[in-house]
Amino acid sequence: MEQLTIPASLTRLGQVAAFITTLGDRGNLTSQAAYRLRLATDEIVTNIMMHTRADQICIRGGVAKDKVWVEVANWGPMFDPRVKLKNRIPCSPRGGEIGGLGLFLAFEAVDEFAYEFVDGINKTIFSVRRDPPPGKQQRR
């Protein structure tokens, strides 16, 4: 398992990208799967940086037999990102509602997505399969 703890600042997104790229390489992810894992992590982390009062973010990740997983933790107020996904539709033409777009992309990018709030810590956990079935690859 690998871990990265950073201040909740957009200037640290490059560090997050490097961390996830290394994790994807360790898991031998395809370039598409690696992109999806980076996108999900980027969106979850950016959402915390821009919309919560958390001052620090802890990212953990690991490679399992069938998947590469990431856990993003912060100590801000309880926020379940799945709430934003209810009734969410992609951008509609000409001024459609754009709130929650990042979380929508994160959710769509990964194969598993979960959230828990334990002991004052928000944890968003997600993963991509190391060898996704053809249907999933074709969709993206």
Binding site: P90, L101, R140
Partner: protein
């Protein structure tokens, strides 16, 4: 993180060329160029994305901003987006309102 956005104006048309990784930390550079194009009241905006290797929702918001500011009589074309970058744009549904082409 490396990202550049360059704008060229030609009459009532504008072109923005993107290169590198477009996330929330680099999106302000793109947004700035979009705003500059909009301020010049262009009727057509071409965005060249063939050298764009990564895009997140922050980049998509700049596209939505351009779409909203330019109005119904204008045209926005996204040119050269491939692979995962094009997939993200389609997943968000932006391909329904912004014309995408290979070149």
């Amino acid at each position: 993180m490396t990202f550049t956005a360059s704008l060229s104006l030609d009459g009532d048309s504008a072109a923005i060329s993107l290169e590198g990784e477009l996330d929330a930390s680099t999106a302000p550079k793109f947004h700035e160029k979009v705003a500059e194009a909009v301020e010049n009241n262009v009727a057509r905006l071409e965005i060249y994305a063939g050298r764009l290797t990564y895009i997140s929702s922050a980049g998509l918001r700049s596209l939505l901003y351009a779409q909203q500011k330019m109005g119904t009589g204008s045209t926005i074309a996204l040119i050269g987006a491939t692979g995962p970058v094009a997939s993200v744009i389609r997943t968000a549904g932006l391909d329904r309102s912004i014309r995408m082409s290979d070149r």
